[in-house]
């Protein structure tokens, strides 16, 4: 059974994503990618590939060095129901994982049940198409947007009272509550569950305020059971792990948002 989400009328969540980590054989992956596309096309007709660039800087005798062997490019295949910012639902595919994303907006609130249901419909088909028998874990990500629109009570004169929204900054001196960009941080805590899990909170500045308009931040809460390289579990365990991670993310939401902020989400 799915854990229930608290009935917030206006939560700042703009994206929910379930990630299933499971490696496909490269040949099978490339050969069956087209077939996968045809399976998805009716529900998610907008397909687009993106390149991810990974840079690795090595230190050779005290000098930074870009080793050509370690700079890599990887293709990410995305499938969306609608184009661009109008998208409501998406699936992203790599050789070693798949993600199920649902997007929310002020006028179109979505829920965990929807992303879970998306996974329920497609995970077994993904596993069958790419012959994936075991997975190494699951991740669940909640992207919260902190902006003039989502936390209006804490926004004033192109400034955001971050200390009023996020608990860990509540005790900062009053003057320091106003955000000065960049204001990025990341922290992880042990989830204390079986299987082992981890909850990560990450804050990223999107717009710094001042001349660039009202400030915007993403406050991401992500939980994962992919802890340890050699973990292998049965595909079916994704359901239990998704519920477990959902509880963790909700706990994180409860802990990291101030009572004032949560009260404003209920309004």
């Amino acid at each position: 059974m799915l854990p229930s989400e608290k009935a917030y009328a206006r939560p700042p969540v703009v994206e929910r994503a379930i990630v299933v980590h499971g490696v496909a054989d490269e040949e099978l992956f490339q050969r069956n990618a087209e077939k996968w596309k045809t399976l998805l096309v009716e529900e998610l007709p907008h397909a687009k590939d993106f390149i991810e660039w990974n840079l690795e800087i090595s230190d050779h005798g005290g000098m930074p060095f870009l080793d050509p062997d370690k700079q890599t490019m990887i293709t990410r295949r995305t499938f969306c129901d609608r184009e661009g910012k109008d998208r409501r639902t998406a699936i992203q595919l790599w050789q070693e994982r798949i993600t199920f994303n649902v997007f929310s907006s002020e006028k179109d609130l979505r829920s965990f049940a929807e992303v879970y249901e998306l996974g329920e419909r497609w995970i077994s088909k993904w596993a069958e198409n790419f012959q994936i028998k075991e997975i190494s874990g699951l991740s669940l990500i909640y992207v919260n947007l902190l902006s003039k629109t989502t936390v209006p009570k804490f926004s004033k004169n192109n400034e955001l009272d971050l200390g009023g929204v996020i608990t860990m900054f509540r005790n900062a001196p009053e003057a320091l509550h106003q955000i000065v960009a960049p204001f990025d941080f990341q922290m992880s805590v042990d989830g204390g569950t079986t299987p082992t899990s981890r909850l990560t909170a990450r804050c990223v500045t999107l717009k710094s305020g001042k001349d660039s308009g009202p400030p915007q931040l993403h406050f991401n809460l992500s939980a994962t059971t992919k802890v340890g390289e050699k973990r292998k579990v049965q595909l079916d365990s994704w359901r239990n792990e998704a519920s477990l991670l959902h509880e963790l993310v909700l706990k994180g939401f409860d802990a990291f948002f101030t009572e004032d902020a949560k009260q404003s989400f209920r309004a």
């Binding site: 994206e15 490269e26 490339q30 090595s58 700079q71 990223v204």
Partner: protein, 218 residues
């Protein structure tokens, strides 16, 4: 030796703009030379388009030139606009097939000759040749059916156990029945495909012995 990894890609699922917003700054001690490319390794060796496959021995190198909106697939003589990264597989397969055809016909130009020398060293040629091989005529006997597949003995006496899709075409045969077909074999004579299976009448042992006798006496 220590190493710092700057990974701007979404680690897991972040479809949002946060990945772009988290770009870290790399400070270079010298100016970028527009003539010197930045080399990347494409993490893909197997390319498949329209049912045609190409497997490389190594990951291909991609060269990005600062200030140019295109990239080069190193050693292949392929330059594509930056936005056309999704066409890499198609471009590689097309180039290889074109040069392979020209090489078979001994019609390579001097420049193509040089490109072919380079490209053919990147490709798993054994694999390519095997997959391009035609089906061959075979005969054999179906030994038995079972829920998981079937057992077959080929005309040379070698036996094989087939499961799943490969065993499906043999359902048309009765146990112990002779057949002829067209088959494609891979590494270590593994059956890759079989088609046009047709039942054959049993061999008349007496006629066979008589024919052999006549032939051996001549």
């Amino acid at each position: 030796m220590s190493a710092i990894t700057i990974d701007n890609s979404p680690q897991v699922a972040d479809f949002s703009d946060s990945a772009r917003a988290s770009v870290q700054h790399v400070v270079s001690g010298s100016k970028l030379d527009p003539a010197q490319p930045q080399l990347f390794k494409l993490n893909q060796r197997h390319f498949s388009v329209g049912g045609q496959d190409l497997v490389l021995e190594e990951f291909p190198r991609i060269a990005i030139y600062p200030g140019r909106f295109e990239f080069e697939i190193v050693g292949w003589g392929i330059v594509l606009p930056h936005a056309d990264h999704s066409l890499i597989a198609r471009a590689l397969i097309r180039k290889f097939l074109y040069l392979h055809d020209r090489a078979v016909k001994m019609a390579l130009t001097e420049q193509e000759e040089a490109e072919w020398a380079s490209i053919s060293s990147f490709v798993d040629f054994r694999r390519f040749s095997r997959e391009r091989a035609h089906h061959i005529y075979v005969e054999g006997n179906l030994l038995s059916h079972d829920p998981e597949g079937c057992r077959v003995v080929w005309h040379d006496g070698s036996k094989i156990r087939l499961r799943g899709e490969l065993s499906a075409p043999f359902k048309i045969l009765d146990e112990g029945e002779r057949f002829k077909a067209f088959a494609k074999f891979g590494e270590e004579d593994a059956l890759l495909d079989v088609k046009f299976i047709t039942p054959l009448p049993p061999v008349d042992e007496a006629k066979g012995d008589a024919a052999w006798q006549r032939w051996s006496e001549t």
